[in-house]
């Protein structure tokens, strides 16, 4: 490097540091410090008053004796599986025809995004009305001769009512992502398959799905992570009830942290949820990463 180069590199480096400093400070203050504080709190008895006392693994041991935690963990598993699988399958089924060019498809793609862009608070209120005794859901059941159901007050039905709302709400975004993925697939592969006489189903399973693996992995990871962290739908639609039937783990963590002020215990449950999410994400990457090339 020339002398001139060394001289000009220094102000550049200073400018680089100055420009990245605000982001670095933001990251440290709003991400790293709270994260480290949460790890520390999970080993304390902190209750939003006084000083935290170190209690070792007591919060983690408490989880296994806490029926509320075990119930919420199981509900989170059910909720995650039952929202992620139908959302992705339905989104893929809708995305395949919508990925074809055409003015009508462009408009339909815009329409499927409507639920995704509506505020969750507003859509939850709409679904409360849909699920009410004389709401749309029971009216539709009545048309086919089925008795009205207590969607939000029956402990057996409430979780499914929640799942349907979440699938409806989140499907649009995944349709758009998968449509983009489908449109980026090389056309010549499909032309070759057509020349070889490949049918629609064979083309979809042997060509489209393998080529779409990277997009599917992205959709799967963000949808699983989103479902495992979901708090707002249960909070707004069912309040965790009836009989704790929709009390997902993030809701249980929140109720321990704020109304009950068991901040240390809530932090410990948050850490367990984080570890579970990391493990699940790693498994998904391992399962779907092969065959990219």
């Amino acid at each position: 490097m020339s002398v001139l180069g060394r001289v000009s590199a220094r102000p550049q480096a200073t400018a680089g540091v100055a420009l990245t400093l605000p982001v670095a400070v933001f990251f440290v203050v709003f991400w790293l410090v709270p994260f480290l504080a949460a790890i520390y709190l999970s080993f304390t008895d902190y209750e939003m008053a006084g000083t935290p006392n170190w209690i070792g693994l007591a919060n983690y041991e408490r989880m296994f004796a806490d029926p509320g935690f075990l119930n919420s963990a199981w509900i989170t598993v059910v909720y995650t599986v039952c929202t992620v699988v139908p959302t992705i399958v339905l989104a893929l089924l809708v995305a395949v025809p919508l990925s074809k060019p055409g003015r009508l498809n462009r408009r339909l793609r815009a329409l499927v995004m409507i639920p995704a862009v509506m505020p969750l608070a507003a859509t939850s209120m709409v679904w409360v009305i849909i699920y009410s005794d004389r709401g749309l859901a029971n009216t539709l059941l009545g048309l086919v001769g089925i008795d009205p159901q207590s969607w939000l007050t029956s402990s057996g039905l409430a979780i499914w009512a929640l799942v349907v709302m979440v699938v409806w709400k989140s499907m649009g975004l995944f349709v758009i992502i998968l449509t983009a993925g489908l449109q980026a697939l090389p056309g010549e592969v499909y032309e070759a398959a057509a020349i070889d006489g490949s049918g629609a189903v064979t083309t979809f399973t042997r060509i489209t799905l393998p080529l779409l693996r990277r997009t599917l992995l992205f959709v799967l990871v963000i949808s699983v992570a989103g479902s495992m962290q979901a708090f707002v739908p249960a909070f707004l639609l069912t309040g965790g009830g009836p009989a704790d039937a929709t009390q997902v783990l993030p809701y249980y963590i929140w109720s321990n942290a704020f109304p009950y002020e068991h901040m240390g215990y809530a932090a410990a449950m948050g850490m367990v949820l984080l570890v579970a999410m990391v493990i699940v994400s790693a498994l998904q990457f391992g399962f779907l990463k092969g065959g990219d090339e």
Binding site: E47, M48, A49, G50, R62, A65, D66, P67, G68, S132, D133, S150, L152, T153, S154, S155, G156, G239, G241, P242, A243, D244, A245, S255, F258, P259, Y260, E261, H262
Partner: protein, 417 residues
């Protein structure tokens, strides 16, 4: 002295700005027995008493030259905001919270004891400040005091062939009447419990368990159990009455209004609320009536109750003025205005504050006062109530047997006592 440099001036300016962003200087305590300065008040309140309350505050400001800053919050948000304020070290001087929140805040040393120089507890009916007292120290005074009673639909009683002038007096009769009032498809029921509501679940269990001589929590607040003969009996009894799948935007009270529920347990506020919902549809004495809280046959009267209360923050720099303001807000004009809306401030002589004080509902309240039971006054009341609702609801929904639900309750509560 060195000349001030531009950098030095900038630093001084920044420090001044930062100092300005900090807490206010501590306000002066009233040493002369007169209120001073500024008081912040956080509360929720009904639209009915809002204007009267505002007027009272304005009169206080004019009379005592105290700056009162009011913040009205939705009832569901007040606790969370207050908790954040306590954690941040900036609570309001005065706040209105449920009696169930007092023990936890008191244990965490967030509350100031009642300043008897500013407010006399002797002005209140005996026992009504008990739920706001923790370890023998009074921390608040009651407003919106609600002993429970039984509301029943006379029209539904007539339809079912029951005497509308003879409401059930015992829990055994409630079960018997409920069976007659419940339709085959269970869309219309006799007594409907307030499912999913922790505080109401705790109050109902308290009435049923204590009425049989049992205890949900031991006197020291160190042990709780529902796996007792009385606890299992209460859960079994509750599961045989009502229908948890019925829904209404106004909950069980809405079901009572619509006639789907023929009986509900509620407080004195329900009468005026029903009047406002539909005067023509539901008139007291015609379509519905009230009765004292049922007891077990031969058992002692137990009247479950709850109350909201005024509290003052321990960190308030103006505690005397805060209690002085509360005392003013609990005065005779307020007692009368609240009573007119069915809201009770249990100051001595409250029944004479207005015509509604002589009503049948208020007579039941007054007769029930010696038997009011606020349940366990312990710091873990919120968790206890949530566990109670979990037990009641899981049995009602058929998810658990009474024994299983009681065991879950015991496991949950053991962790928080």
């Amino acid at each position: 002295m060195a000349d001030p440099t531009r950098r030095g001036l900038l630093a001084a300016g920044a420090l001044t700005l930062l100092a300005g962003c900090g807490k206010d200087q501590p306000r002066r305590q009233a040493a002369d027995g007169r209120p001073h300065g500024e008081v912040t008040v956080w509360l929720h309140g009904s639209q009915d008493t809002g204007p009267q309350f505002q007027e009272l505050v304005h009169r206080y400001i004019a009379e005592f030259k105290v700056d009162v800053k009011l913040l009205h919050l939705p009832v569901g948000q007040l606790d969370a905001k207050l908790l954040t304020a306590f954690s941040g070290g900036a609570p309001p001087d005065v706040f209105k919270i449920g009696h169930w929140s007092f023990p936890a805040h008191a244990r965490k040393k967030r509350l100031a004891p009642v300043d008897t120089k500013a407010l006399s507890l002797q002005n209140y009916e005996p026992g009504t400040t008990t739920p706001l007292t923790y370890q023998d120290v009074p921390y608040g005074v009651p407003i919106d005091f609600n002993p429970c009673m039984l509301y029943y639909r006379k029209d539904r009683f007539e339809e079912a062939g029951l005497d509308p002038g003879k409401p059930p007096a015992t829990w055994e009769e409630v079960a018997e009447y409920s069976a007659k009032l419940t339709s085959e498809d269970r869309r219309r029921v006799g007594l409907q419990w307030l499912y999913g509501d922790p505080q109401w679940a705790l109050m109902t269990l308290t009435a049923l368990v204590r009425g049989k001589g049992g205890e949900l929590v031991t006197a020291g607040g160190t042990k709780a159990s529902l796996s007792t003969e009385q606890g299992l009996n209460a859960l079994t009894y509750m599961s045989g009455i009502g229908n948890p799948k019925l829904s209404n935007p106004l909950g069980a009270l809405g079901l009572f209004y619509s006639g789907e529920a023929a009986m509900v347990v509620s407080g004195a506020f329900l009468g005026p609320a029903l009047e406002k919902l539909g005067k023509d549809k539901l008139t007291f004495g015609k379509q519905y009536g009230v009765a004292p809280m049922p007891t077990w046959a031969g058992g002692p009267p137990v009247v479950p109750a709850y109350t909201w209360g005024w509290g003052v923050a321990k960190d308030s720099p103006n505690q005397f003025t805060a209690w002085h303001l509360i005392n003013y807000l609990q005065g005779a004009p307020s007692v009368a205005a609240n009573l007119d809306n069915g809201i009770i401030i249990p100051a001595k002589g409250w029944r004479d504050a207005g015509p509604r004080g002589r009503s049948e509902i208020m007579k039941i309240v007054a007769d029930g006062l010696p038997h009011v039971d606020f349940g366990p006054i312990i710091p873990g009341t919120l968790e206890l109530a949530k566990a109670a609702a979990g037990a009641v609801d899981s049995v009602a929904h058929g998810k658990s047997t009474p024994a299983q639900a009681a065991a879950t309750f015991d496991s949950t509560v053991r962790l928080v006592l």
